[in-house]
C-alpha cells in the first residue's frame, strides 16, 4: 500500500510541469497541449505507434492530475484522450486508429462527445437523433446537448438511432464525425461558470461508411466504456484541491481565533479530498488495460465530486463576506467560481443516481474498495 505517487508517476508529473514552465505561464493552453503531445505526454497509456508511451492507465492518471493543477484544459483533454480516444483504441478499426489517435495523442486534435440530448441526458437510450443509410454512407440528423469544448473540436463521437429495434437499447450506433462539416451548427449555452455548453444541431450531416465505430445497431454496448473512460474524477479532484488552496489562503488572513473556529471544516475538506484521490487512483490501478471496474469508478467519481462540492459549500458559507468584497482577490474569484461550478459535479459525467445504484448493487457492499 502506498499513498504517494510512484517513481514513474512522479517523473511524468514533473515532465508536464517542465514543458509548461518552458513555455511561460501565459502561453496559449492549446499550444501547451501541442508541446505536451510532442513529448508523448498527453496519452502515455496509448501504444507507442499511436503517440503514447505504452504505460499503464495509472501513469496517465498522474498526467491528468498535473494538467488540472496547472489549470490546463483538462476536461477537453479528458474527453479527447479518454472518452473518444480510448473508445477508438478499444473498438475502432485499424484505419480509424491510424487516422485519429496520433493526432489526439499529439495535442493536435480535440474531440467531443455528442451523446446527450435534451430529453436524453443520463438516459442515453432515449435519443431521437437518427442516421439513415445513403449510397455512400450515412445522413445524421438530430440535436445534441451538453457538449463541452465542441468549438475546439475537430472530431465528435456521436450516437444515433439506425433502426427501431425490439428494445430501446437496440438500434443505436456510434459514428465519428469530422468537424467542422456541412450541416453541423453549434449554439453556445452559457453556464454559471466556465466555458459554455454547446447545443449541436445535425442537419442531414453526411459521413462515410468508415465513420461507423463498432457494430451497426450495437453501439449501446460500447457506451458504458465510452463514458467510463472519463469517469475517474481527476478533473473534479484537481478543482477540489485548487479551491481548498484558495480557501486556506483566505483562512490564514483571519485572526487566530477565527482560524481555530474553521479548523474542523478545513480538516474535513482535506480528509474528503485525500480519500477521493486514493479512490481515484485505486480505480485506475485496478484496471485491466483500459478496462476499469465500474464499481470502483463509481466510488471514485462520486467521492471526487462530493469532495469538490464539500469544499465549495464550506468556503461559500464561511467566507461569504470575503467573496462579496471589492476589489475581488484572486482567491475570492476562484471560490466564487467554485460555488457556481460545484453543483454540476453530481450531474456531468454520469448522474450520481446511477453511481449510487452501482455502489449499492455490490455484494458484499464495499468489497471493491478494500
Amino acid at each position: 500500500m502506498r499513498f504517494e505517487l510512484d517513481a514513474v508517476q512522479q517523473a511524468l508529473a514533473a515532465e508536464v510541469g517542465q514543458v509548461y514552465e518552458s513555455l511561460g505561464r501565459d502561453a496559449d493552453p492549446r499550444k501547451v497541449m501541442e508541446h505536451l503531445g510532442q513529448e508523448r505526454l498527453l496519452a502515455v497509456h496509448y501504444p507507442v505507434r499511436y503517440g503514447g508511451r505504452g504505460l499503464p492507465l495509472a501513469a496517465h492518471a498522474a498526467v491528468c492530475e498535473r494538467l488540472g493543477e496547472l489549470q490546463l484544459p483538462d476536461v477537453a483533454h479528458l474527453v479527447s484522450v479518454q472518452a473518444v480516444g480510448c473508445t477508438i483504441l478499444t473498438y475502432g478499426t485499424d484505419a480509424q486508429k491510424d487516422r485519429y489517435l496520433p493526432a489526439i495523442a499529439g495535442g493536435l486534435l480535440f474531440a467531443s462527445i455528442l451523446l446527450s440530448e435534451t430529453g436524453a441526458g443520463s438516459d442515453l437510450a432515449g435519443i431521437e437523433t437518427t442516421a439513415v443509410a445513403d449510397s455512400s454512407g450515412w445522413r445524421i440528423s438530430g440535436t445534441k446537448a451538453w457538449s463541452l469544448h465542441t468549438d475546439w473540436s475537430g472530431l465528435a463521437l456521436c450516437s444515433a438511432r439506425t433502426r427501431h429495434g425490439g428494445h430501446r437499447q437496440d438500434g443505436i450506433s456510434l459514428f465519428l464525425i469530422d468537424l467542422p462539416t456541412p450541416g453541423v451548427r453549434l449554439f453556445p449555452v452559457a453556464r454559471a461558470s466556465g466555458t459554455p455548453y454547446f447545443t449541436v444541431t445535425l442537419d442531414g450531416v453526411h459521413v462515410g461508411e468508415d465513420a461507423l465505430l463498432g457494430g451497426l445497431h450495437h453501439g449501446w454496448a460500447l457506451l458504458p466504456a465510452a463514458i467510463g473512460f472519463e469517469r475517474t474524477g481527476f478533473d473534479y479532484l484537481t478543482r477540489a484541491t485548487r479551491w481548498l488552496q484558495a480557501a486556506e489562503t483566505m483562512l490564514r488572513r483571519l485572526p487566530a481565533a477565527e482560524q481555530t473556529e474553521l479548523g474542523a471544516g478545513l480538516v474535513g475538506c482535506r480528509s474528503k479530498i485525500e480519500s477521493a484521490r486514493a479512490l481515484a487512483y485505486h480505480a485506475v490501478n485496478s484496471a485491466q488495460g483500459l478496462d476499469m471496474d465500474e464499481i470502483a469508478m463509481a466510488y471514485a467519481k462520486l467521492a471526487c465530486g462530493r469532495a469538490a462540492q464539500a469544499v465549495a459549500r464550506w468556503a461559500g458559507r464561511e467566507f461569504s463576506a470575503a467573496l462579496a468584497a471589492e476589489p475581488e482577490t484572486p482567491e475570492a474569484a476562484v471560490l466564487r467560481a467554485a460555488v457556481d461550478e460545484a453543483p454540476e459535479f453530481t450531474i456531468s459525467g454520469g448522474a450520481q443516481e446511477l453511481q449510487l445504484d452501482l455502489i449499492a448493487s455490490e455484494f458484499p457492499i464495499g468489497a471493491a474498495v478494500r
Binding site: 479548523g263 480528509s271 480519500s275 487512483y281 466510488y299 449510487l356 449499492a360 455484494f363 464495499g366 474498495v369
Partner: protein, 301 residues
C-alpha cells in the same frame, strides 16, 4: 499511489475474519485475535515487532465487523506499544500472560498510565497480571505519550470502521432479501442510495485510518491525521449504524444483533470521542502543527 494490500496482509485480514467466524459469538476480540495464530510472532524474542499499526488495523476492523469486545485486545496492543523495547523481556512476560490467558485468566487491565500536567506519562504493570508485574516502569515524554495516544486512537478508529462495515453488510443483505410490494428493498432508490452513501463515507474513513497507520509504520508522525482518522471513522460508523437500523425497520430495533451493533457504534464515541469534538481537535492540531512548521522554516532560514 496504490491501495492494494500485499499478499501477507490480505491473508491476515482473511484469517481474522475466518477466526471470528469460527469462534463463538461471545468470544472476545482477544480470543479471536489469539486464534489467528499470530500471537507467537508478537512474543518472539529479538528483532522488531512483526506487527505494524496497519496490521493491527486490519485485524481490528475484522473484529469490529463481528462486534467482538474491544477492551482486552486494545490493552494488549497498548501494552506491546509501550513496553516492548525489542529486547525480549516484555515479550517473554507477555508470552507467559498469553499462555495463562488461554487457560482462563480474566485480567482486564495489563498496565496503568499516569499522566502529568506537562503531558508526559509513566506506565506501570504493578497491580496488573502477575506475569507482567516484574517489568520496569516506562516513562514517556510528552511527544512520545502523544504518539502512543495517537496510535491507540487510530487502532480504535479501525475498529469503528469494522463496526460500520458490519452494520452496512447486514443492511445490504437485508435489502437484497426483503421483498416489499413484489420488489426487493434494494430496488427502491431510497434504500439503495442510503446504503451507497454510507458505503462511500465508510470507504473514505477506512482510507483515513490506513493513511495514518501507514505514516506511523513509516516512522513519521501522523499528528492531526490520527484525530482526523478517528473523526472520519466515528462519523461513518454512526451513519452506517443508522442506515442499518433504517433498512431493518422495526426488525432493526428488535433484532439483538442489530441492537448490539447500534449500541456499540454509540459506545465508540466514549472510546474515541464525539465526531464534533474529534473534528474540532483535528482542526486545532492541524493549524497548530502548520504554525509550528512555519516557525521552524523561518528559524531555519
Amino acid at each position: 499511489m496504490n491501495l492494494d494490500l500485499d499478499h501477507s496482509r490480505r491473508r491476515l485480514a482473511q484469517a481474522a475474519l475466518a477466526a471470528a467466524a469460527a469462534q463463538p459469538e461471545t468470544a472476545s476480540g482477544w480470543v479471536v485475535f489469539d486464534a489467528i495464530g499470530v500471537t507467537g510472532l508478537l512474543t518472539e524474542p529479538g528483532g522488531s515487532p512483526p506487527f505494524g499499526l496497519l496490521d493491527w488495523c486490519l485485524v481490528l476492523e475484522s473484529l469490529g465487523v463481528g462486534r467482538r469486545e474491544l477492551d482486552l485486545i486494545r490493552e494488549v496492543r497498548l501494552f506491546l506499544d509501550v513496553f516492548d523495547d525489542g529486547r525480549g523481556r516484555a515479550r517473554a512476560a507477555f508470552a507467559a500472560w498469553a499462555r495463562n490467558a488461554r487457560a482462563g485468566t480474566q485480567a482486564r487491565v495489563l498496565a496503568v498510565r499516569r499522566t502529568a500536567e506537562d503531558g508526559s506519562e509513566r506506565w506501570s504493570t504493578r497491580g496488573g497480571p502477575p506475569e507482567l508485574g516484574g517489568l520496569p516502569d516506562v516513562a514517556l515524554d510528552p511527544a512520545a505519550a502523544t504518539a502512543v495516544r495517537d496510535r491507540d486512537l487510530v487502532a480504535c478508529a479501525s475498529y469503528a470502521v469494522g463496526i460500520g462495515r458490519g452494520c452496512l453488510e447486514s443492511a445490504r443483505e437485508r435489502a437484497g432479501s426483503r421483498v416489499i410490494a413484489k420488489r426487493r428493498l434494494i430496488e427502491y432508490q431510497g434504500a439503495a442510495h442510503q446504503l451507497a452513501e454510507s458505503a462511500v463515507e465508510l470507504a473514505g474513513a477506512r482510507l483515513a485510518v490506513w493513511r495514518s497507520a501507514t505514516l506511523a509504520d513509516e516512522g513519521r508522525v501522523p499528528g492531526y491525521r490520527a484525530t482526523e482518522a478517528a473523526a472520519a471513522a466515528v462519523t461513518a460508523c454512526l451513519e452506517c449504524a443508522h442506515t442499518a437500523t433504517q433498512i431493518f425497520g422495526a426488525a432493526g430495533t428488535s433484532d439483538p444483533r442489530l441492537v448490539s451493533l447500534h449500541r456499540t457504534a454509540y459506545r465508540l464515541t466514549a472510546v474515541c470521542g464525539s465526531p464534533r469534538a474529534l473534528w474540532r481537535e483535528a482542526g486545532q492540531r492541524a493549524l497548530a502543527e502548520e504554525r509550528s512548521d512555519e516557525t521552524q522554516r523561518d528559524e531555519d532560514g
